[in-house]
Each structure stands twice: as structure tokens, then as C-alpha cells.
Amino acid sequence: FLTFEGDLKWDHMDLTYRVINYSPDLDRAVIDDAFRRAFQVWSDVTPLTFMQIHSGEADIMIMFGSQEHGDGYPFDGKDGLLAHAFPPGQGIQGDAHFDDDEFWTLGTGLVVKTRHGNANGAECHFPFIFEGRSYSRCTTEGRKDGLPWCATTANYDQDKKYGFCPSELLYTNDGNSDGAPCVFPFVFEGNSYDTCTTDGRSDGYRWCATTSSFDQDKKYGFCPNRDTAVIGGNSQGDPCVFPFTFLGQSYSACTSQGRQDGKLWCATTNNYDTDKKWGFCPDRGYSIFLVAAHEFGHALGLDHSSVREALMYPMYSYIQDFELHPDDVQGIQYLYGRGSGPKPTAPAPAPTEESQPMPTEEPQPVPTQEPQPAPTEESQPMPTEAGSTSTTEEEEEETPEPTAGPIPVDPSRDACTEKNFDAITEINGELYFFKDGNYWTHSSFWKSGIQGAFSVSDTWPGLPDTIDAVFQDVLTKRVFFFAGRQFWVFSGKSVLGPRGIEKLGIGKEAGRISGALQRGRGKVLLFSGESYWRLDVKVQRVDKGYPRATDDVFTGIPLDARHVFLYQGKYHFCRGSFYWRMTPRYQVDRVGYIKYDILQCP
């Protein structure tokens, strides 16, 4: 981790923040909730508390803006720069700015939170069925008033659950009209408008009058984005118009024609050739939660980290079940000390954190958190070069490594002649291949090639000949072995087990464990069949909300993998003689032969 020069930090723990304006991409309740959770990422591991205020000067002022937005550090349109923040201090120091030319979501695409109807503000469910037809957008079908609506379940015909989609005909944001809807047409500077406009503004936000004449009444509000609003281009926020004509051809859907970067776009009038009005179509967008958590790290005094998986790494990558990386924890605790640990929270519902049910219409003030007694300052490690592991503090006492190297049982027994293995894993940076009570090691670091065969029972007494899966806990170095529904935990040569995996909270549906992926912060994913569980190694219990379907997260890998292991920071899924390698961004970047690529057999 790195801090800013001079260890800039806040001189008080009870910080305030204020959201000055809101992006029209998301309902403001969704944005408030995302910011609250982003601050909670840091308050969970420090004595810091965060309170949202709605007027006056807060420690951390948060705003959305495009291009030059008043601080001399302009944004750059869609993609590229997403946001920035200033280190702790007065004035603009400690503030966080978000580029409103981006498409803000929760990271997995359009979020349409409904209002009114009978679904209590739930999100639209796309696609949904209405009168036998499928809709993947909000629709005005069935209504005479032109208000767009959607179903909040997959089938309106069956469930009759619905809500109204964001639209300027339903409400406006901010301005001076208390959320009143637009009135069309309205007169502005003598001209008549029958849609929202950016005329008269330099910041590109769309607005409308809430009476028939702005010239006379001066009443106005900002228009929420419709679900078909475009991003960037030269008509940000306007909806696509289908069909539209481009180079003489008609398009009734978004297209990447005319572009080299493959991005989808549409025209916002029915003829691009004559009007040249366009914008990008909604894509997955950027998670306002993840980007905010990163920027708030800056606002608290953390600089960029060179640890790729860390939250403070400068590049964006979407992560579904987010967890703070040890590098980030050490950085923020170096500045503010430890908190008293995560706050007890009500059991979360099963879906992922990102899709928490939305709070009620009105944004809730951040629950007041009891001020924590200031921790006594422990001697904090000095920050050294970014990413240097010497600042890492082992939380658990070291378990002794097997000191004397094992003596090969049968050096002539060649791993390269084995048809397949029982289990594969990385221990202390070396790969271990287990088969019938023997094991081989292979270190790509020492270039010593394959070592063995060694006797499993010599190194880990009491284990059966056939092992299904093995993993080493990164923090404590303990090694976990699985065979059938039994598991053993070794600290050096001392063992705990066998015990049944039901003790870990894994149900009968798991006949055998096929592999494990260490996820850091004491969490390990255990795979069985087409599902996986997340084990909290410290308490030796799987987390609530598991098992989950493997292909929800790990797509493009064989669901019946025989081995799953982490090696050199990448996930490996093996079936037969092949392996699929996946990056921490869940992208398969290689498929190859276990023998020739990993074991490097001739």
C-alpha cells in the first residue's frame, strides 16, 4: 500500500459526507445506498464513522460532473477516467468527483428502480412477459398516458407486479419544483420545447420546465434518464430513436457499424445522416459502489497500490462478491488503527450483496454508529515500496513448516507416466501432485523440475491413500486435505481430524470436494459438482448464502472439473489431460495440457 506524501490523514474519526448532486443514470436511493456501503468498507476495519449530511460543508463532498467540472482536472467523456478524489484536508481536499459521462450502474448493467405501482420500489425485471409478449425495456404499452412502466417479476400476466420507470413525465430531480414532472410543451427564451433540453446550460444536464412557461414562472427540474438513454456521444441522456437511418441504411437496434472499437451506439433522431445526433447504448456500466469505495480510500489518505487485486489498484475491474484486500486493510489501519471488527449485521438475504433490496423511497441517513473507543495505537509498520510484502503483518502465528525435506520413496516412479492425479494444489509456492498415497512436487521457481515420488504418510501421517482435494491456508500455512466427506487439518505434522465436512456446514449434496480456491482474507472457495461454498478458514464454517452455482461466476470452464486449484495467482480447472486457466477477472486466458504446460513433461 502507499499513503500520500506526509501521511495526509483526517485528525478526527467521526467524518461527514454530503452528496451534492446525483447522476441521472440511477435512482438517488440506489446511489445513496451504494455510497453508504462504500464508506462501510472502510468503517468495518477502522474506528472511522461516516455520517451523511444534506446541507452545509461536509468533510467529504461528493459530486458528479463531466469534462471540466470546476477543479482544473477535466474528465474525458465515456470510459477512460472514471472518477478522482483529493487527499484529506480542508476545502476541496477530501472530496470525490465522479465522471457523469460514464454509465453508472452496480456493475452488471442497467438498474431501473421503479416508483409507485404495487412493487414497493423494486427494480424492473428484464425481460418480462406482458400479454404474451416479451419486453426487455420499459414500455408504454397498455397505457394512454405515455408513462413507461415495467414488471418487477418475469411475468406480469401471471404475477401482476409492476412499477413506473424513471421518466420526466413522472418526476424531476432537484431544481426548484419539489420533484414535479415536466410540462410539455414549455416556453424557454421564447422557444417552445416538447422534450427535455440542455439548452441554456454548459454542464450538459437535461432539464425541463414544470409549468408551461419557464420564462414566466422560472420553475424547473432535471430530467431522470430513461432506460434507453444514451451515454456520451453528443446527446447524452436522450433516448435512442428506432428505426434510424445511418449511411442510407435503416437500423432498429443499437449497432457498432461505422466504429472500429466495436462499441454499440444509436442515433437520437430518426436520421443520423442529416442530424448527426448520437450516443453509446447502455452496457454493463461501472459499479458506482466499487469506484466510490476506491475514491473514498483516496479521500481517507490512501494512494494507489500496485497490488492488482487490491481495491486501491488504479484500474477498474468488476468483482461480484467484493472483499477488502489485506493490502488495503493494512494501509488504512496504518493510518487510523484497527476498528473493533465488523459490525454485527442482520442476516443478509441470499442474493449477492449488490442486489440488496433497495431502501425505502427516502434515502435513510446512515445509521448513527456508536463512536468506537479509540484503539490504543499499536506500533504500525512503516510503509515501504508499494506492494512490498515486508509490510505485511501475519495475523496468525506461523505454523512450523516441515523442515527436513522428504526422502523419495521411489524416485523411479515418474509423474509423467501417471495417467491422472487424485489432487493438485500449490503449497509454499510449489505445485503438489497427489496419487495413490504418493506425491510429487514441481517448482517453476527453482527450475529443479519434478521431485519425487514421496510418501504422503511420511509427510502427513494418517491420511488415506486417495485424496480428493488439498489447499494451504495462505495466512496460517495450515494444509487442509479432503477425501470423500472427511477432512484433515495439518499444522506441520500435527493433525486435527478426520472430521466430517458437515462440520464445515457443507450439506449432503456434496459427495466429494474437487478443489479449492484461496480468495484472501481468510476465505476459500470449495468446489463440489457444479456448486461451490465459501469457507471462512478461521471459524472453519461456510458463509451464509452458499452453495452457489459455479457457472454464475466462473463461466467458460468445465463444470465437471476434476481438480480446481490456485496457482501463481490464477484459477486452474482441470478435466482429463487438459486445464483451463482463469484470471482474477474471471476470464479464461489459457487452455492447455497439464502434463506438458504445468508439469513440463518432455
Binding site: F4, G77, L81, G232, G233, G258, D303, M315, A386
Partner: protein
């Protein structure tokens, strides 16, 4: 089968970065995020200062340290990211 017509490439009004040449994109990126300064570029000569700055950026971002404007480095430069500089105040 090859596509019938050659693909038309249009410059869309208001489209900012996507059409910048690689070298210019790299120079802007390295200066913006603190890996080099304009004066360094002037003094050391474009090629030398670029190599040094690229090496610094590749090390900082955990990329393969080649000192060259290779595909992985260009991809990193085009990736969405935070606007706070990586080096310097």
C-alpha cells in the same frame, strides 16, 4: 466468408479519445499519471524518456517490464481507471 462491402469508418462528432494514435496516447497517459514530465521528455529525447517512463509504469501496475509500448501496456492505457496520478503529488 468475407463481408460484401468494406466497413465504413465514421468519425462521430464529439468522440474524444478513441482515435488517438498509440504514441500520442502513451505520451499523454505517462505525463498525466506522473510517470514522466514534459521537461523530461524534452531533455532526454522522446524515445529515451518514453522507455524509462514505460518501465516505471509497467513496474507500478504489475505489467511485464519491457520498456516497450507493447500490446499489454497499450491495453492497460486504454483501460478505465481512477484519475488520481500514480506517481507524485
Amino acid at each position: 466468408p468475407l463481408q460484401g462491402k468494406p466497413q465504413a469508418v465514421v468519425t462521430f462528432p464529439g468522440d474524444l479519445v478513441s482515435t488517438l494514435p498509440d504514441l500520442e496516447l502513451a505520451e499523454r497517459y505517462l505525463q498525466r499519471f506522473g510517470y514522466t514530465t514534459e521537461t523530461e521528455a524534452k531533455i532526454g529525447g522522446r524515445h529515451v524518456s518514453l522507455g524509462k517512463a514505460l518501465l516505471k509504469m509497467q513496474k507500478q501496475l504489475g505489467l511485464e517490464e519491457t520498456g516497450e509500448l507493447d500490446a499489454a501496456t497499450l491495453e492497460a492505457m486504454r483501460a478505465p481507471r481512477c484519475g488520481v496520478p500514480d506517481v507524485g503529488t
